[in-house]
């Protein structure tokens, strides 16, 4: 019988989160207040976050104690198992050992509660009486709903209307956990009413839902806002994933050659990766790969990793440079990971070359996810499929190189509430990529001389 799971006992759960900010060789630029252009201060965020969370957001402290009350809630499903994917290895037939952190075992089905639980706790401790947030299809909203219930906090989730209507099961989860789930745009906020006045049939967007959630928090006494990714404190709380994985790999006497995760906002990826980034910063040889959901692999290679906002101030004519139909809007020039809502910490680590980003198109990712489900049994969330495509890619590279590799990745969540996505894939409804490589190269070559920082 071959070992499949590597488990930690309850008392072996890490007692501190790891803050990668303490070890960055080059400091990150602070965010700037849009009105003053000066670095943001804690008081700028007090309208939406309690001060204890703001302190985590700006902290440079390496280790931050996890409160006992948070640990007690984590123990409902943590430490999460580390699995060896022996069936997937056999299917791939490559010289790799594949280990994964199974974050799908949480009650919400993903890594999201790792951050939602401390956020609800710290809000409760700070005297917050109610929490708001926004959600797309409901992964974050459902996790926060669960966490708020655990600490006795009413929760209102503004859910993008098109998802509210086409994906009802996560809003049912939110209701089951006691949260209010409101289709956004709504009549409950001025932001929502403004949209509805102009577009009564608006399907909604994350931008509208965020505006509603924040307006609700700012204008209602004792109400704060929570968000599920991108910000430093979220990545801090998610480090529990990588810290456990570190201990579990140590039990095997192994260290990964490659650590991988899928990159949406960056929180689950940073969660598994940052403890290993710490090792890499201190000289350990380990490759760290973020799999990003974009259709254009070249975007992740640069030369587009500059902040277009700064460039626009100095060269206002640049965005008007139109190459016939080949112009690619400047938001893309800002770099796949830097621009598209990626966590600043992750973007910074990409720029500093501690993390290698890779892009995989959606059909390849579903192909990998189905291979996984048919060998390992667990059905991945469509987001998780991006890292599975990257794992397949890495396994093939190991085969070409004739080198054995140990791969560790984060299996960020299950897809059991997202089977409509698989249905669309099997029905051939998801858009295939048809633009030939030479057309893409031609378009990218046209802008290759754009200035870089």
């Amino acid at each position: 019988m071959e070992q499949v799971k590597i488990l930690l006992e309850d008392q072996e759960i890490p007692r501190q989160w790891y803050n990668v900010m303490a070890d960055l060789p080059t400091p990150m630029r602070p965010p700037l207040h849009p009105a003053t252009g000066q670095p943001v201060t804690p008081s700028d965020l007090e309208a939406i976050f309690p001060m204890n969370i703001i302190e985590h957001e700006v902290s440079g402290q390496r280790w931050i104690d996890i409160p006992d009350e948070v640990l007690q809630k984590y123990l409902l499903w943590r430490p999460s198992p580390l699995y060896r994917a022996r069936n997937f290895e056999k299917l791939l037939g490559c010289p790799v050992q594949i280990y994964y952190k199974h974050e799908g075992v949480s009650p919400a089905g993903s890594h999201k509660p790792n951050a939602a639980i401390p956020m609800a706790y710290y809000n409760m401790m700070a005297g917050t009486k109610r929490i708001t947030t926004e959600t797309g299809a409901g992964q974050w909203g459902s996790a926060l709903a669960m966490a708020c219930q655990m600490f006795g906090l009413p929760c209102r989730v503004y859910m993008v209307k098109v998802s509210y209507e086409q994906k009802p099961y996560r809003r049912m989860m939110m209701n089951t956990w006691g949260a209010e789930c409101i289709a956004s745009p709504s009549n409950l906020t001025q932001a929502g009413r403004n949209v509805l006045a102009e577009h009564p049939d608006s399907p909604g967007s994350l931008g509208i839902a965020i505006s509603e959630a924040i307006e609700d928090a700012v204008t209602t006494p004792n109400t704060k806002y929570s968000l599920g990714s991108v910000l430093n404190h979220v990545l801090l709380y998610q480090s529990i994933i990588g810290l456990e994985a570190h201990k579990q790999m140590q039990k095997l006497g192994l260290y990964p050659d490659v650590v991988m995760g899928c990159c949406g906002g960056g929180s689950n990826f940073a969660g598994v990766a940052t403890p290993f980034v710490c090792d890499k910063i201190h000289g350990k040889e380990v490759k760290i790969v973020g799999a990003e959901p974009t259709s254009c692999p070249s975007m992740t290679k640069g030369p587009f990793a500059y902040d277009f906002g700064d460039l626009a101030k100095s060269t206002p004519l640049l965005p008007m440079y139109t190459l016939g139909h080949d112009y690619i809007p400047a938001p893309i020039h800002a770099g796949g990971l830097r621009y598209h809502g990626m966590a600043p910490i992750v973007s910074h680590l990409v720029r500093e070359k501690f993390i290698e980003p890779r892009a995989y198109d959606q059909l390849k990712t579903f192909e990998a996810g189905v291979k996984w489900a048919r060998s390992e049994g667990f059905i991945p969330a469509p987001e998780t499929n991006h890292v599975l495509a990257a794992v397949v890619d890495e396994a093939m590279r190991a085969k070409e190189e004739g080198k054995e590799k140990i791969i560790l990745f984060n299996w960020s969540g299950h897809g059991l509430v997202d089977l409509a996505a698989y249905d669309a894939y099997f029905a051939g409804k998801l858009q295939a990529y048809e633009l030939p490589d030479h057309e893409i190269e031609r378009a990218l070559n046209a802008i290759k001389d754009f200035p870089k920082p």
Binding site: P31, H33, P34, V40, D44, L45, A47, I48, G136, Q139, V160, V162, S163, Q166, K167, A191, S205, L206, G207, I210, S211, I214, V218, T219, V230, L231, G264, P293, T294, S295, C296, M299, D307, G309, A312, M320, T322, D326, Y327, I328, P329, P331, I332, Y339, H340, G341, Q362, A381, P382, E383, A420, A424, K429, L430, Q431, A432, L435, E439, I440, A443
Partner: protein
Amino acid sequence: MKTEHDHKLIRCPKLGDEMTFGYCLQEAGDLPCPRIVSCWFRAFDVAKVLDEHLTSEQRQRFALGAPGDKVSSLIEIIERAKKPS
């Protein structure tokens, strides 16, 4: 804004849901989602579609519209929410 590609479906990385190109075209009000080119780039010549369907004023706003830092954008929303309606 209507195009021949409106019905095409993609997994939206922001929402975690399947969305049509038609949704992406209006995600930011009268502008497309900032990710529209990177998400659809390999499917068809999306830059050409935008060129054909956006006015030059919209193209300029779209090209200049990098949202920047998340914290900065949260502060913008906070300041807007504080203003009397």
